[in-house]
Symmetry: D3
């Protein structure tokens, strides 16, 4: 179990970056969702994201596509960041959401594009 | 408009193969959904799938991920075929559906895996 | 309560026709979903469908649109029939599903159009 | 009808508490959704929630599970309160949302857990 | 293509009004979603909304019904405005959302009614 | 890992019965979804279903409620069986689906009730 947690933490750090991970794990101590965080790290990151059968970039494309279809804005923004860290360009992220107009409808595409713009603006603000 | 239709038909043929395309277009003549087929070819295939901003393989990964999240079995089976034609291996298709267990839940993953098996069996039957 | 049931049964008969209503009510006697049928008749048909604030044709347009977005094939087919009884033509039903390509995506539109064709074929069979 | 409304108001008060009910009914007078509030009280609370075939605690478990799967945050927060009033502990609410990671995916579970924390914080604020 | 864009812009202006259209098109110049806006205008407004097979009022009823079922608040508010411009009264909009209680559940109906109230309040504020 | 698998297999057997479990595990050997089955057993059954924070009966109520909202018929039928094994009566299963009419709409409730009837008929056939 420790091994899965350690592997999961490493993969998560690689995809979502250093600071947020440490911060989220810390903030989860003794809280309502400590166990959810544990399973997220072990199963989602340690078991699944760490498998070599699909590249991290491919997993990011799949993840933002699934979240675009599902209307989960907070998680989608987190995984737009992850996709950028995994080598998907912002133009490709936007293209996935344009593609979503065909498969999920224009309202889904419009919502996702707004979220992508918010992530782009936040990154420019942090960089500028 | 003709140009968009022609381009769409070519992209669709590249992704979904020769026979079904001709067959579907033919069967749609004078029918209830003739216009839907026209827009599907022009907009979905001619405008969006034909754009170079994302590879066909990436679009297939996005498409099966969106359909996995949305519970649309007929279209998912069509696009599993398309993904295989676009260079996604059957193992990678299965891995996307395993990934869906994290983002859409196990019931979605189980349903998609069953559909992937049906496509695999049909192809073995056709090849064997 | 009886009054609501009676009004609901009358509205339902007007929208979905004579035979199926009687048949469904009869088949529900002493069964698992007898109470569900009762509430469906009283609340859905007696309270809501019987209100004059929206015409039956408008309610049918709203109903098939909501069911198109939700992926409920059995109920959608029932309400395509209801829409035809309420003065929506089959061409307008098909147009609603074409419209769904914009707001729910092409997979939803394709699925609904197939169901509309099944209803059209069944009616031609019954008439022919 | 009056009897159903009275019974519904009583059940709703038992589940959601005194103040909000009175307040909501008052604020709905003469407004756009006065009829929706009436049907909610009569049908949802008077007809369904008041049935003895399932305990209030069981109905609360079913309700927060359905809302977790559906992504309706405002109603979910209301019914987390209702669940606590019906004898579900906050730890059990959190456990239902952990369970949702399996059946609805981790993004749904994460979103619901955040809402549960907001309800817990608001209650501690009110109590502290 | 220009013809489809021009026709789409005209239909969109008719449904959603003058100012927002100009403003949105302007703000989209050189941005992440410029192409999404282009396809929205050409395909959604130019190809589909401009077809005569269904009145603008019927299309508005279908649109708000599909968005009510899908939980897309920003687009729903835009299309409540569009529905009012297309001759649906605010009372009929509210009635569609009451109808949604039957087909999408009360949480969907409650959410939509809140959004309708926000639109009504904003319009009274603008008019008062 | 072995411990989680063993625990998961035991919990799954307790909930879903002996034969199907053995059969499903066997049939998954060397197949496309062998890893999905492994994670299902380890994570869904070994980690989550085996936790004591919620009774098996409560987990079954939550599971069929989440599946009712999500439109996943195959998994819903499996978990109606599981609910019956966990002490939920068929009348209570039907009551959960009646409750779903309020929170997911009547089409969801009707679909689920049909599936419950199929399970009831299959069990009577097996017993009779």
């Amino acid at each position: 179990m420790d091994e899965r947690f350690t592997k999961g933490l490493a993969t998560r750090k690689q995809v979502l970056g250093e600071m947020p991970v440490a911060q989220r794990v810390a903030s989860a101590q003794g809280e309502l969702n400590a166990d959810l965080q544990k399973y997220l790290t072990e199963f989602a990151w340690g078991d699944i994201w760490s498998r070599g059968q699909l590249s991290l970039r491919d997993r990011s494309l799949a993840t933002i596509s699934m979240l675009a279809a599902q209307n989960r804005p907070t998680e989608l923004k987190t995984h737009i960041e992850g996709a950028l860290n995994n080598g998907v360009t912002m133009e490709e992220v936007a293209e996935v959401f344009l593609h979503a107009a065909v498969y999920c409808g224009f309202p889904a595409a419009m919502t996702c594009m707004r979220l992508a713009k918010e992530v782009a603006a936040a990154r420019q603000g942090a960089a500028g």
